[in-house]
């Protein structure tokens, strides 16, 4: 059952908060070694609020890759949020400013724990989940940017995130069409990993949903 209401959304995301806080702390550490001030990394987490894009941008800056390369990588990685935003856009209410602000709480995890099998979300649940994640993300970044921690890979956190997405994928696979979309999406991403920059494989996998164009 997809969660309904802000509290249910926050509860649904709760199991993930320690991993997200640890991930954002490791982003803070990485950002510091790449030359970002603590303030810059916290500002980035508060406004960009997208883990993989932030890590990619900061690693490129740290390696001397230049601003244009960092911006391009981050925005490619985040382009999937335009697709997700369109799919849930109709659920948002109120004026333009309110919709724009609330939409910033869309991230992979907050969307994945609140989306139901028909691709619908409860707006309040998404905001509860996204708001909880945002607090953990910004607090974790601050901790990592100003305090020293161990290496997140030694804690196995890089294996925890694909596991989370797998756990969220399984309940989505009830219909034959959904299973087909998952297989196509996974295959597209796998085939593209060696061929295109990071971010593009996941974005291109969105095309797999076109198999639902005419069929019910």
């Amino acid at each position: 059952m997809a969660p309904v209401g802000a509290r249910a959304g926050a509860r649904a995301i709760a199991p993930l908060v320690p991993a997200v806080a640890a991930f954002s702390a490791s982003f803070g550490v990485l950002a510091r070694t790449a030359g970002l001030s603590g303030v810059a990394s916290v500002v980035m987490s508060a406004t960009t609020f997208a883990g993989s894009a932030q890590v990619a941008a900061v690693s490129i800056l740290g390696a001397g890759g230049g601003v244009a390369a960092a911006v391009a990588a981050a925005l490619l990685l985040n382009a999937r949020y335009a697709a997700i935003g369109v799919s849930v856009g109709a659920h948002f209410r109120g004026g333009i400013v309110r919709r724009l602000v609330e939409s910033q709480l869309i991230v992979d995890e907050s969307w994945a724990v609140t989306v139901d099998r028909d691709g619908r979300i409860d707006r309040r649940a998404l905001l509860g989940a996204g708001g909880t994640l945002w607090l953990a993300w910004v607090a974790g970044t601050a901790a990592g940017a100003f305090v020293s921690f161990g290496d997140p890979e030694r804690l196995g956190l890089d294996g925890a995130f694909p596991a989370l997405f797998l756990a969220l994928l399984v309940p989505q696979l009830r219909s034959r069409l959904a299973r087909l979309a998952a297989v196509c999406g996974g295959a597209i991403a796998l085939a593209l990993i060696p061929l295109v920059p990071a971010g593009v494989p996941v974005l291109a996998a969105a095309a797999a949903c076109l198999i639902g164009w005419r069929r019910r």
Partner: protein
Amino acid sequence: MAAAVTAVWVAVVVIGLGTIALKGFGPVVLGGRSLPPAVARPLALLAPALLAALVVTQTLASGRHLVLDARLAGVGAAAVAIALRAPLVAVVLIAAVATAVVRLF
């Protein structure tokens, strides 16, 4: 090598604004209006397609290289835990522990 301070801030601001626009586009343009069924039907399949792609890339990709490393063990352990109907927090924890343990060897 550390990046120059102004370059860092330019990147932080441009990436921030770009991401805000990407996330906001759908809710700002569509807020309160529903999509025609011809568009809504394919979009309902976005979740399985993107989640599968995230599993694949976060397990096997390292930049533009396909690699088999400890993450695969973590996801394998998670798959067993999911099949046994373990709660989400246990699945995530088992995956992290399995990844960390396999990485030790």
